[in-house]
């Protein structure tokens, strides 16, 4: 069934990886001031392994309220797609339908298909846990677990899903490096996760998310609660992460969409109005309503 290039670890549903073979050595963090933009990040040592996601006629309801109306949209693998739109347009709801978090809300329903590399995540009988391991999520407000240390926080995803046979120390280190946080916390992995600054906490949450090695990372306004410098660091991180993951980011900050996204989708009142390459959306959008929104004529 798999026609993708060989990947050491299959993240197709319901199977649990037995062990993680060596993915290549971690590159040592470069000294500060060398000007190397990827300082502290592990260079991907293999082919990109994000998967594409396709939404087909997705509808979502909160009881009677029709929040997402028939959205069909493709998220290209190893690319960043931004979803923009005014408050209440359904973009966060749409995001939560992708990793089936939407159904955790009482009275919430969703119909349609969400295909991860061709397989519908809403298929009958599928273990929702396996869906969420393949599709991770980072939230607006950083939410590290307060009773756990930094190490435990990053390992939490593995422990909470009962994953066995993984070298925790190695995985935690690799994840913290991948999130650009390793240098800052390597000497205090045992200290409380809640003792970091807002930007660091969010990067910790990102490390926690990538520790379970998902294929897709969903981000729901990840920088809204952060100051501008922390925001830029995370945007830089997104640019590095897309080499290994497919990223979908919901943002109300259009400049951010402009900076990080390869494609941008515009939603209004639950509908997908337009999607296209980011630079086209921001220089010559096709739809009048998109033009109105990005020019700030309403929102």
């Amino acid at each position: 069934m798999n026609t993708r290039p060989a990947k050491p670890q299959e993240t197709i549903f319901v199977t649990t990886p037995e062990s993680i073979p060596e993915r290549g050595t971690l590159s040592p963090p470069t000294a500060p001031g060398t000007g190397d933009q990827t300082a502290g990040y592990a260079a991907p040592s293999e082919a990109p392994n994000g998967l594409g996601v396709e939404l087909q006629d997705l509808h979502a309801h909160y009881g009677q309220q029709h929040a997402v109306r028939g959205v069909s949209l493709t998220f290209a693998s190893n690319k960043v797609t931004a979803i923009i739109g005014p408050s209440g347009c359904g973009k966060s709801t749409l995001l939560r339908c992708i990793n089936r978090m939407h159904e955790e809300i009482a009275g919430a329903t969703a119909t349609g298909r969400v295909l991860l590399d061709g397989r519908d995540v809403y298929e009958q009988g599928l273990d929702v846990v396996s869906v969420r391991r393949a599709i991770g999520m980072v939230f607006q407000k950083p939410n590290p677990f307060p009773t756990m240390s930094i190490f435990d926080n990053v390992a939490a995803g593995l422990r909470l899903t009962g994953t066995k046979g993984v070298d925790l120390r190695e995985r935690v280190e690799r994840s913290l490096v991948g999130a650009g946080l390793w240098d800052e916390v390597k000497d205090r992995l045992g200290s409380a996760g809640a003792g970091l600054s807002g930007g660091q906490q969010q990067r910790l949450c990102i490390a926690r998310t990538i520790a379970v090695e998902p294929d897709v990372i969903l981000m729901d306004e990840p920088c809204s609660a952060l100051d501008p410098i922390a925001t830029l660091r995370i945007e830089e991180l997104i640019d590095v992460l897309k080499a290994r993951y497919t990223i979908v980011i919901v943002t109300h900050n259009m400049q951010q969409a402009g900076r990080v996204a390869d494609s941008t989708a515009f939603m209004l009142s639950g509908e997908l109005i337009e999607v296209g390459p980011t630079s086209q959306i921001f220089t010559k959008p096709d739809d009048d309503r998109t033009e109105q929104y990005v020019s700030g004529r309403f929102g």
Binding site: Q255, P277, S279, Q280, F282, E291, V294, G296, R297, G299
Partner: protein, 245 residues
């Protein structure tokens, strides 16, 4: 808005500021028309006084250029315009540069006038065409201004057609000047008139360029109305190689 409810206007200050900058840039065209009128008078009477007025008045056009340029940079830095606003901003920058070039061409013409001698021969074939070029140009520039402020692409076609005539007149003047005679003074004068015609033709090109900018703002595509490699008017030369997307 096609039947949808009218959205509440936001970014008032931004839109007003953009409009003011656009008007300031277009006013430059009025200044160019005025300079052109003075230039025409100077040409008719070989009048050094009018010529020096034009040369001195070019400072106003240059100042206007700097002012618009600075305002645009400030607007971009502060307001991050996108979509149509972004294209408008780019068009204004191009336009004010064309305005400045047009002003410079008028100055070039006026600098040629005292060189033409105090007792110039009256060669109606050439002088008549120069006059016709000036009259056409005046209308052409005003049409270009209206084209921009109204975003009226029909006027762009009018300007392109008029410019074809300007080019024709320029070629004719060139031909006549070649055969103007053996008298040194006359030949010298004819040479200068040829240069004048070329300056006028350049002014015409700048006006057409402004209309191309308007087409870009409206359609998002850049289309050369006419250039050296494609002398036919009104026909699209195809997309310029650097058109985006």
């Amino acid at each position: 808005m096609r039947g949808r409810e009218v959205p509440v206007e936001t970014r008032h200050q931004f839109r007003e500021e953009l409009l003011r900058i656009e008007e300031a840039a277009l006013e430059g065209l009025d200044m160019v028309v005025h300079a052109l009128e003075l230039t025409t008078t100077a040409l008719d009477g070989q009048d050094a006084r009018h010529a020096s007025l034009v040369i001195g008045g070019d400072d106003r056009i240059d100042d206007r250029y700097l002012e618009v340029h600075e305002s645009i940079l400030s607007l971009i830095a502060r307001e991050a315009p996108v979509a149509t606003d972004l294209r408008t901003v780019a068009a204004i920058l191009h336009t004010i540069r064309h305005v400045e070039r047009m002003g410079d061409q008028c100055v070039n013409i006026c600098k040629l006038i005292p060189l033409a001698g105090n007792e110039p021969p009256v060669h109606t074939a050439i002088l008549g065409r120069i006059d016709e070029m000036s009259q056409r140009l005046r209308l052409q520039i005003l049409d270009a201004k209206r084209c921009f402020s109204e975003r009226n692409l029909a006027l762009a076609d009018v300007v392109a057609r008029s410019d074809a005539q300007i080019n024709r007149l320029n070629r004719e003047i060139f031909q006549i000047a070649l055969e103007v005679g053996n008298d040194f003074d006359t030949r010298e004068w004819a040479m200068h008139m040829m240069l004048v015609a070329r300056c006028l033709e350049r002014i015409g090109d700048n006006a057409v360029d402004i209309c191309e900018q308007v087409a870009f703002v409206v359609t998002g595509k850049f289309r050369e109305f006419s250039d050296a490699s494609h002398p036919n008017i009104g026909r699209s030369s195809g997309d310029a190689p650097w058109r985006g997307v």
